[in-house]
């Protein structure tokens, strides 16, 4: 496995913010909201986080792997993708779609 990319397995992410807070480069940005989910038999609805956006700024990421280490849900993993070489800083800001693990898209 090459350590050339941090992939996000969207389904596993609970928007817990741990990776965002531990990232030494401050390069992960996450936006989420909560919804109430009522389960049968439950006395009151449960709050569930819904991930709205997840971005890694690859112009700042130093591939330290801290985010992968701290994620309690294994939602981040090393991957063989590469962030593109570009002249435009905006292009290095990758969102949920681009961060999917290789093979998934």
């Amino acid at each position: 496995m090459k350590h050339s990319f941090i992939a996000l397995i969207e389904d596993k992410c609970t928007s817990c913010m741990l990776c965002v807070r531990e990232c030494p480069a401050w390069c992960i940005h996450l936006d989420s909201h909560t919804v109430d989910v009522t389960e049968e038999g439950a006395r009151r609805p449960r709050k569930v986080n819904v991930l709205d956006s997840f971005e890694i700024d690859y112009s700042l990421c130093m591939y330290c792997g801290v985010c992968i280490d701290v994620c309690p849900f294994d939602a981040l993993a090393w991957d063989e993708h590469r962030a593109l070489v570009t002249n435009n800083r905006e292009d290095m800001l990758l969102g949920i779609e681009e961060l999917g693990p290789s093979g998934s898209s």
Binding site: S15, R21, C27, H33
Partner: protein, 165 residues
């Protein structure tokens, strides 16, 4: 990689003589010298200096460490190649090497505190909005959506009394 490595901790007063003895014993390959911040280890804001030397065939290597408060005798007259590392250690960790050069390698001479010490507050951390301030119902800029009531988290490395927007 050397087949066997040993570690030794010495007093600053014995720093030069230890390195000199090592060279006499055949540890003539100087690998590196660097600092390790010890602020959270013993509370007195010390810095550890580490030097790594090996035998010519790299079969044995030896790490020498010493705890310094701010200065240490230079070893550049024994090992000229150590000068680059001592200058880097001065620039990044603020350890002065008596008898050596203090000329910075990368930074401007008057640029303030050594950046690799934990006690140095990185100004950019105060000026940059911290992505970790967001919560499911709080945006990165602190705006609340929904009925969030959690106390806002603070970024690591920014003192409590510093303004964070």
């Amino acid at each position: 990689m050397p087949r066997s490595s040993t570690w030794e901790k010495v007093e600053p007063a014995d720093w030069r003589s230890t390195i000199e003895e090592l060279r006499e014993k055949g540890f003539i390959f100087f690998d590196f010298l660097t600092g390790v911040d010890q602020e959270n280890v013993d509370g007195n804001n010390a810095c550890e200096v580490v030097a790594h030397l090996a035998t010519k065939d790299l079969s044995n290597s030896h790490f020498v460490t010493t705890q310094v408060l701010d200065e240490l005798p230079s070893i550049t007259d024994l090992i000229p190649a150590a000068q680059w590392y001592e200058r880097e250690c001065t620039e990044m960790f603020g350890v002065k090497f008596i008898g050596g050069s203090a000329k910075p390698l990368l930074r401007h001479e008057n640029l303030g505190r050594p950046p690799l010490r934990k006690s140095t507050v990185l100004a950019a951390r105060v000026l940059t909005p911290w992505p970790g301030a967001a919560e499911p119902e709080i945006k990165e800029d602190g705006r609340k959506v929904g009925n969030a009531s959690r106390r806002r988290q603070r970024p690591p490395g920014v003192p409590d009394n510093w303004l964070q927007t």
